[in-house]
C-alpha cells in the first residue's frame, strides 16, 4: 500500500528496572508495582492492564513492601519509614518512621485496620503494628523482639495471631500478648547454611505455607505446629508466594523462575480427605521472580526480567490465556523536532538530543538498507538537576525550545544550533527562568508554531504559556470541568493551535479552546480510559484510542462522531478487539489525513479511512505463520487495516517529511542483555 524510508533508531538505550514487589487492590482492581529504582507504578486491570501512573522515586528511597488498604497505597523499605502516597499528585503524602530499622515486609489484617510491619534489624528483628486512621497511620505497639531477622509476615485474624518467617524458623505470635506462642523449626540443607524463610502465608484453616532458601515449599499445621507436607519445588530460593482467597491454591516462585501451583485436592473424587499436591508449572520468566499476586481472575508475576506476566486462572476455550506486558512505559519517552529532524530521548535522569542521519538514495526493494549521506549525531546530553527523575519532556518543532519537568519543577531551555548541517555544529543551550515558577508538569507539549507551551500540571489543570515574548508568560490556567481527582495523563494540541485536548483517568476527554482559553466541549464519557489522542492536521477532528482498543473520531465543530467513526463502531473487528496491547500513540498522516498511524508495543498499524473496513471473517494479520501458510499468497482483498510487525519494542513512531518515517525501537534482546545473570540450570545436552 505504502512505501517508506525508515529512520530505524536503536541508539536509545532505555533500560527498565527489575520489579521488586506487587500489591493488588481488589476493590479498585488496581495493581501497584515497585521497581528496583523505588518507583511505583499503578496498573488498572479493568482497563485492559493499562499502566496509569508512575510515582517517581524519592532520592535514596527504597520500596520493599507495598500494601493497599481501601484504595490507599502504603509502602515501606530499607529506610525504615512507612509512607502513604498521594495517588493524584503522585508524591509521598507522609512517612511514619518505625524507629527499629529496615522494614522488610508488610501485612494487613482482615479488617484492613492494622498493618504489621516486619522489621529486619541487624541482629534481631521485631514486628511493629500500626493503626490505620482516616488521615494517616499511627504507631500501635511492638511485639517482642526475637533473635535473628524477620523476613516475612502474615496475619491470621480468626485466632488473632501473626506468623513470621525468619532464619531457620517460623514463629507464631499472639497479637494480644505480644509474645511468641509457637516456633516451627526449619531443617537445613547444609549444616552450616541457615535456612531463610523468604515468604509465609496463612490459609483460612490455619495452614501456614512457607517458602525458603532451600527451594522448598512447606505446608504446616498452624495449631499444632507440625509439618504437613514439604515439596522441593524449586532449585533455588523461593522468594514469592501467594494464596488464593479460598485457601486451596498456592503459587510459589523465586530465583528458579518456574511458577509452581499447589492445590489442596481430595485424594479421590468421592473422598473428603484432601492433600496438597503440586499441579501446574509455568515457565515464562527468564529471570528471578520477585513477586506474585493474585487478582480475582488471574495470577500476576514479575521479577528481574522487568516484564509483567498475567496468567488467567480459568481456561477460556480450553486455553490458558497468558499476557506478557513488556516493560515499556505508556507515556512517551521520545519527542521529535520534525522541522530540523532532531530526536529528544528522555532517560531516567537526563535528556539526549540527536540529529538524525540523512540519505538521498531510494530502493524499490523492501528491507534494503540505504547508504547514509550523513550520520546521526548526538548534539546534547542534559542531566537533570540533582539527578531528579524526569517525569516528562518536550521539544518545539524547530528544536529551539526544550522543556522538561521533574517532581518539583518545570524547566525550560532555549537551544540554538549555529550551523546545523555541519559535522560538528556549534550549539548554545540557555535556561529560561520562568516567573512565577510553574507547577511541575505531568505532560508537556509545544504548539506547532512554537508560540505556546501547554503543560498538564500534577494538579490536573492545564497551564498555557505564551512563548512569543522575551519571557514566557503564563496565559491561563484551565480547570478541568470534571473532578480531576483521579489525575489527567493525556495532552494533545491542535496543529493549527486552536484546541487542546486532555484525557484523564476518569475516562473523560475534554477539549479546550486555545484562542478563548476556556473549556470548549467534552467527548461522551466512555467505560474505558483513553490511551492516545491526536488532532486532524487541518479539520477540527480528534481521534481517540481507548484502553479496550476502541477508536473514535470526533468532530469538534459539529459536536458529534464522524460518520467513519460510527461505521467503525457499528462493526468492530473481533481480531482487533482481541488484541492484548494498548495503543500507545496515535497520529494522522500530516499530508494524507485520511490515514492515521497507531503504535503498540510490538507493531504499528496504518488505518486508511478511504478503504473499506474489514469483514469480521477477514484476518487483519496472520498472527502465527505456519509453514503451510508461508508460501500461500496473501489474500488480495484490500481493507483499511494495514500492519507492520517488524519492529520490537516500539518506543516511538513519527512521520517526517517526504516519505520518511521515524521509528525508535528497543529490541527485547538488548534489554535482556543488560539484565543480571540467571540461575544456571543444567539443560539437556549442555
Amino acid at each position: 500500500m505504502e512505501e517508506f524510508r525508515v529512520h530505524r533508531v536503536r541508539f536509545f538505550q532505555y533500560q527498565p528496572n527489575a520489579v521488586h514487589c506487587l500489591a493488588y487492590d481488589n476493590a479498585f482492581q488496581k495493581l501497584a508495582l515497585s521497581r528496583s529504582d523505588s518507583s511505583v507504578e499503578i496498573w488498572s486491570e479493568k482497563d485492559n492492564w493499562y499502566q496509569e501512573k508512575i510515582i517517581p522515586p524519592n532520592e535514596g528511597g527504597s520500596v520493599e513492601a507495598l500494601l493497599w488498604s481501601e484504595g490507599r497505597l502504603f509502602s515501606a523499605g530499607l529506610h525504615g519509614d512507612l509512607q502513604e502516597y498521594n495517588l493524584c499528585t503522585l508524591t509521598s503524602k507522609y512517612a511514619v518512621p518505625c524507629n527499629n530499622g529496615a522494614i522488610w515486609c508488610l501485612a494487613l489484617n482482615d479488617e484492613r485496620s492494622r498493618i504489621a510491619a516486619s522489621i529486619m534489624g541487624t541482629e534481631d528483628g521485631c514486628v511493629v503494628l500500626y493503626e490505620i486512621t482516616p488521615t494517616g497511620v499511627e504507631y500501635h505497639r511492638t511485639l517482642d523482639r526475637q533473635e535473628g531477622r524477620i523476613l516475612s509476615v502474615a496475619w491470621y485474624d480468626p485466632e488473632n495471631v501473626i506468623v513470621t518467617g525468619g532464619i531457620d524458623n517460623i514463629r507464631i505470635w499472639s497479637v494480644k500478648s505480644g509474645h511468641a506462642i509457637q516456633r516451627l523449626t526449619m531443617g537445613r540443607q547444609l549444616h552450616n547454611k541457615e535456612t531463610i524463610v523468604w515468604a509465609v502465608a496463612v490459609t483460612r484453616d490455619f495452614t501456614i505455607v512457607s517458602g525458603d532458601s532451600r527451594g522448598m515449599t512447606s505446608f504446616w499445621n498452624g495449631r499444632q505446629g507440625t509439618l504437613i507436607k514439604a515439596f522441593q519445588s524449586h532449585k533455588a530460593d523461593v522468594l514469592a508466594l501467594c494464596v488464593d482467597a479460598a485457601g486451596t491454591s498456592v503459587f510459589t516462585s523465586g530465583v528458579d523462575p518456574a511458577v509452581v501451583q499447589f492445590e489442596f485436592m481430595p485424594v479421590s473424587e468421592t473422598s473428603d480427605w484432601s492433600i496438597w499436591v503440586r499441579t501446574t508449572v509455568h515457565l515464562q520468566h527468564s529471570h528471578d521472580v520477585r513477586a506474585l499476586t493474585l487478582t480475582e481472575t488471574s495470577l500476576v508475576s514479575a521479577g528481574v526480567d522487568c516484564q509483567l506476566i498475567v496468567n488467567e486462572l480459568e481456561l477460556t476455550q480450553g486455553i490458558r490465556m497468558c499476557r506478557h506486558h513488556p516493560p515499556i512505559p505508556q507515556a512517551p519517552l521520545v519527542h521529535t523536532a520534525k522541522a530540523v529532524k532532531m530526536v529528544l530521548l528522555q532517560y531516567a535522569t537526563g535528556l539526549e538530543l540527536w540529529r538524525l542521519g540523512s540519505t538521498d538514495r531510494r530502493s524499490e526493494k523492501d528491507g534494503r538498507i540505504l547508504s547514509l549521506s550523513s550520520n546521526p549525531l548526538k548534539l546534547l546530553k542534559l542531566t537533570s538537576h540533582h539527578d531528579e527523575r524526569i517525569v516528562t519532556s518536550a521539544i518545539s518543532s524547530d528544536g529551539s525550545l526544550i522543556a522538561y519537568s521533574d517532581r518539583h519543577c518545570l524547566r525550560l531551555f532555549s537551544f540554538v544550533v549555529e550551523n546545523p548541517t555541519d559535522a560538528l555544529p556549534t550549539m548554545e543551550l540557555r535556561r529560561i527562568r520562568m516567573q512565577p515558577s510553574p507547577l511541575p508538569a505531568r505532560s508537556l507539549t509545544f504548539t506547532e508554531d512554537g508560540s505556546h507551551l501547554v503543560s498538564l500540571t500534577c494538579e490536573g489543570t492545564v497551564q498555557v504559556f505564551d512563548m512569543s515574548g522575551e519571557q514566557p508568560k503564563l496565559e491561563a490556567t484551565l480547570q478541568s470541568p470534571s473532578d480531576g481527582g483521579n489525575g489527567v495523563h493525556l495532552l494533545a494540541v491542535n496543529p493549527s493551535g486552536k484546541y487542546i485536548a486532555t484525557g484523564d483517568h476518569s475516562n473523560n476527554v475534554h477539549i479546550y479552546s486555545l484562542k478563548k482559553l476556556k473549556h470548549d466541549c467534552s467527548l461522551p464519557q466512555y467505560a474505558f480510559q483513553p490511551t492516545a489522542l491526536a488532532f486532524h492536521p487541518s479539520s477540527p477532528e480528534l481521534v481517540v484510542a481507548y484502553s479496550d482498543r476502541r477508536i473514535v473520531e470526533y468532530n469538534i465543530a459539529r459536536r458529534e462522531y464522524t460518520p467513519w467513526s460510527r461505521q467503525l463502531a457499528s462493526n468492530p473487528h473481533p481480531q482487533w478487539l482481541r488484541g492484548h496491547s494498548r495503543i500507545n500513540q496515535i497520529m494522522y498522516h500530516p499530508r494524507q489525513p485520511h490515514q492515521f498511524f497507531l503504535r503498540e508495543n510490538t507493531m504499528f498499524w496504518i488505518i486508511d479511512k478511504t478503504q473499506p473496513l474489514p469483514e469480521p471473517s477477514q484476518k487483519l494479520y496472520q498472527q502465527y505463520r505456519s509453514k503451510k501458510n508461508l508460501y500461500k499468497k496473501k489474500s488480495q482483498t484490500k481493507h483499511a487495516f494495514h500492519t507492520c510487525t517488524k519492529y520490537k519494542f516500539l518506543l516511538h513512531l513519527d512521520i517526517l517529511d517526504e516519505d520518511f518515517l521515524l521509528i525508535v525501537e528497543r529490541p527485547p534482546l538488548a534489554i535482556l542483555d543488560n539484565l543480571p545473570p540467571v540461575l544456571i540450570q543444567k539443560k539437556f545436552g549442555t
Binding site: M1, F4, R5, K634, C644
Partner: protein, 645 residues
C-alpha cells in the same frame, strides 16, 4: 446403469438336473414355487430363504412340469406323468388326494394367467384353459417331423401371449413360430404365425426369450457363438453378437434393451451371468457362477432377482435395472464385439474370412494372393479395418498357427506398418521363436508398443540361448548396426556375446517394462539362460559408467539401436533377474563365480557414488560460501525501506 449383485444360494438341490422349474407365486410377492424331479414342490420365501409350504408327490408318479399357482382360483396346479393335471389348495397336506384330470395329450407346460384360470400348453402346440380341459384350441402340428422345442408365455394385465417355437427335424433352417394372443375370454384368442428361415444353418438355437416392446411381442433367439436374433411378425433383425459366450447359454429379456445371459465368459474365461445391452451391444454387469456349471444354466426371473442352477445350488442374483444410456455405456467399449457391416463390405468379409480360414487358403501362394488382395482392397475402401483388434488378432493367430508355410513377408508387412498391437505379441512371439526369426522379433521390438513383459522375457530367453552366428548371418542385410561401436570390448573384459547379438539384446533391455511383471515371467526362464544373461549384465555394468545413456529415448524406438542401456536400467534388470531366481542362485555352484564378480562391480559402483556424495557436499559448501550474505547488519541506526502491504 443396471447392476448385478453377488450371488447367494437360495437352496441346495440333490443334483444338477434336479430342478424342473421355478415359478412366481402370483399372489404373494416374495414367494416362488420350486418343482423338483424328486417329486417335491416347495414354496420358498426368497427374502429369508425359508420354505413356506412343501408337498411331495407319491412314489411312482413323475412331476413333468413346473407347478404353478393360479391367483384366480387360489389353487396350485401341476402335471403328473405328462398327462394328468393335478390341482390342490393351499391348505391341502397331500396332493394325491386332490382333484385330478386326465388330459388326452402330453403337456408341455402350464401357464398361469393372472386374469383367469391357467392355461395348459400341449406338446403339439395346442392349448386349453384349465376350466375347459377338453376344449383344445389352436391347430396341432401337422407332420411328425415337427416338434415344439420351446414354449414361452408373456403375461400382461389383460392379455397373455403364448408362443410355441416349432422346429422341423429335417429342414433345420426353418423355425415356425406360433403365437397366441389370449384375451380375457376364450373366443378372443388370436393366432400369429410366422417363420424364420434365412441364414440359420444347421445349428440348434441355444435359447429363446420373449420381449415385449412398444405393444409388440418379439422373440429373441440366441445362437451358438453368441449371435442374437430378434424376430416378430413383420420380420427378423440381427441384434449383433454377444461376445465371449460359452457353449451352453440361456437368455432372458429384462426390458426392451437389456437381456440377462447366463453362460457368458469373463476376461479370465470364467463363466458367469451377465446383463447384456442389446442397443449398445456391450456387457453392462457380470457376476461369476458360484460353482462350475456343466448343463445348460437355465435362467428364471422373479421380480428383481435372477435364478440359475449352479451345480447343486439354486443361486439368486439380485439386480437393479436402469435405462441404458450412452453415458453409462462409455468406457465399456472394450467388451464390445465388432463385426463387419455386412451390407457395405461383404467382399471384404469374404476376403478376410478366406484369409483367416486354413481351409480356404491352404497354400502359401493362395494365402499371399489373398493377403495382397485384402491389403489393396482395404487401402482403397476401408482403412479402419486395421484398427479392428479382433480381426487383426484372428489374422495374427492364423499366421502364427499355420504349420504348412511361414508367412514371413506378410507378418513383416503388418509389423512395419504398425497394424499390430502389444497384446497380439502373446500369440505372435511363440511362433516367431519357434521359427527362430530374430529379425522379425527385432522388428516387433522396434515397431510395436506396449509389448507384454511375458513376451519380452520369452524373446530375451530366445536371444540369449541362440548362437551368436545366427545373429550375424541374419543381420547382415536387415539390422542397422550404426552407433554400436561403443560396445567393443573394453580393456581386458570381453563381451560374452557377439556384437550383433549384444546390439539386439541391448535394444530389448532398453524396452520399457515393469519390474513386477518381469519378475513373474522371468521365473519361468531356464536357469542356464539366466546365468548367461547375468554374465552379460555384469559385463554391461562394468563398461557402463553413466547412469543415463544419452541415446535412451524410448519414444523413438524406430531409430537405429545405438548405444547401451543406461546403468540404472542394467541395475534394474540385474535386480529382477536375481530376485526371480534367488533360490537357484543360492544353490547352484555355477552361479557362484558370476555372483562374486557382480558383487565386486556393484561394490565399486557404490564406492564411486560415495565419492560423488562427498563431492556434492563439497560443492554445496562452496556454493553457499560464494553466495552473498542475506542478513544485513542494522546496528544502532540505519535508514531502510519499508513496504507495507
Amino acid at each position: 446403469m443396471s447392476t448385478l449383485s453377488e450371488a447367494s444360494t437360495l437352496c441346495t438341490l440333490s443334483n444338477a438336473n434336479d430342478l424342473i422349474g421355478l415359478e412366481t407365486h402370483h399372489s404373494e410377492p416374495n414367494l416362488v414355487i420350486i418343482t423338483r424331479r424328486n417329486r417335491n414342490i416347495t414354496v420358498l420365501d426368497v427374502n429369508d430363504q425359508k420354505p413356506v409350504k412343501d408337498w411331495t408327490a407319491k412314489g411312482g408318479q413323475q412331476l413333468s412340469c413346473p407347478a404353478i399357482f393360479c391367483p384366480a382360483t387360489g389353487q396350485y396346479a401341476t402335471v403328473i406323468n405328462e398327462k394328468i393335471l393335478v390341482t390342490w389348495n393351499q391348505g391341502d397336506l397331500v396332493i394325491d388326494k386332490t382333484k385330478k384330470i386326465r388330459l388326452g395329450k402330453s403337456v408341455h407346460r402350464l401357464v398361469s394367467c393372472p386374469s383367469r384360470c391357467h392355461v395348459i400348453a400341449f406338446e403339439d402346440a395346442t392349448f386349453c384353459w384349465s376350466d375347459k380341459p377338453s376344449d383344445f384350441q389352436g391347430s396341432p402340428i401337422a407332420c411328425d417331423t415337427d416338434s415344439v422345442t420351446w414354449c414361452g408365455c408373456h403375461c400382461l394385465k389383460e392379455q397373455t401371449y403364448l408362443v410355441f417355437v416349432i422346429r422341423n427335424t429335417k429342414n433345420k433352417s426353418l423355425l415356425k413360430i406360433r403365437a397366441y394372443q389370449l384375451g380375457a375370454d376364450i373366443e378372443n384368442s388370436e393366432v400369429l404365425n410366422w417363420q424364420i428361415s434365412d441364414n440359420l444353418g444347421n445349428e440348434e438355437p441355444l435359447d429363446f426369450a420373449l420381449q415385449y416392446q412398444s405393444s409388440q411381442l418379439y422373440l429373441l433367439i440366441l445362437w451358438p457363438g453368441g449371435d442374437l436374433l430378434r424376430s416378430c411378425l413383420t420380420g427378423t433383425e440381427e441384434l449383433g453378437k454377444i461376445s465371449h459366450m460359452s457353449d451352453t447359454a440361456s437368455i432372458l429379456a429384462l426390458d426392451d434393451t437389456q437381456v440377462a445371459v447366463s453362460g457368458i465368459l469373463s476376461d479370465s474365461r470364467q463363466a458367469g451371468i451377465g446383463i447384456w445391452d442389446v442397443r449398445f451391444r456391450l456387457l453392462i454387469s457380470w457376476q461369476p457362477f458360484l460353482e462350475p456349471v456343466s448343463s445348460k444354466p437355465q435362467l428364471y426371473r422373479h421380480q428383481d432377482r435372477l435364478f440359475t442352477v449352479c451345480d447343486r445350488r439354486l443361486c439368486v442374483y439380485p439386480f437393479t435395472l436402469s435405462r441404458s444410456t450412452i453415458g453409462a455405456a462409455l468406457g465399456k467399449l472394450g467388451q464390445t464385439a465388432i463385426t463387419l457391416e455386412k451390407s457395405q463390405t461383404s467382399k471384404l468379409t469374404s476376403l478376410f474370412n478366406d484369409l483367416i480360414s486354413p481351409a480356404k487358403t491352404p497354400t502359401e501362394k493362395k494365402f499371399k494372393d489373398t493377403f495382397a488382395k485384402f491389403v489393396s482392397f482395404v487401402a482403397t475402401h476401408n482403412e479402419d479395418v486395421w484398427h479392428h483388434l479382433d480381426l487383426m488378432e484372428s489374422l495374427v493367430k492364423r499366421c502364427a498357427n499355420e504349420k504348412k508355410f511361414w508367412p514371413r513377408e506378410e507378418l513383416l508387412d503388418l509389423i512395419t506398418k504398425k497394424h499390430l498391437t502389444g497384446s497380439m505379441c502373446v500369440s505372435l512371439f511363440p511362433a516367431l521363436v519357434s521359427h527362430r526369426d530374430v529379425v522379425l522379433l527385432h522388428r516387433c521390438l522396434q515397431y510395436i508398443e506396449d509389448i507384454p513383459e511375458s513376451s519380452l522375457v520369452q524373446c530375451l530367453a530366445f536371444y540369449v540361448s541362440t548362437d551368436d552366428n545366427k545373429f550375424s548371418i541374419e543381420f547382415e542385410d536387415s539390422v542397422d548396426v550404426n552407433g554400436s561401436s561403443s560396445l567393443s570390448p573394453s580393456g581386458t573384459l570381453k563381451c560374452p556375446f557377439e556384437h550383433d547379438k549384444a546390439t539386439v539384446i541391448n535394444h530389448l533391455l532398453m524396452y520399457p517394462s515393469n519390474d513386477i511383471f518381469l519378475l513373474e515371467s522371468l521365473r519361468t526362464v531356464d536357469f542356464s539362460v539366466i546365468l548367461d544373461l547375468l554374465g552379460y549384465l555384469f559385463y554391461l555394468m562394468n563398461v557402463t559408467t553413466s547412469p543415463v545413456a544419452p541415446s535412451e529415448k524410448p519414444l523413438k524406438r524406430n531409430l537405429p539401436a545405438a548405444g547401451r542401456p543406461s546403468l540404472l536400467k542394467v541395475v534394474d534388470w540385474a535386480s529382477v533377474v536375481l530376485d526371480a531366481h534367488l533360490t537357484q542362485m543360492v544353490l547352484s555352484t555355477e552361479a557362484r563365480k558370476v555372483l562374486v564378480e557382480l558383487h565386486q562391480v556393484v561394490m565399486e559402483q557404490v564406492h564411486f557414488y560415495d565419492e560423488l556424495v562427498g563431492l556434492e557436499v563439497l560443492l554445496a559448501q562452496l556454493k553457499q560460501s560464494r553466495t552473498p550474505a542475506n542478513k544485513q547488519f542494522i546496528g544502532h541506526y540505519c535508514i531502510e525501506t519499508l513496504h507495507i502491504a
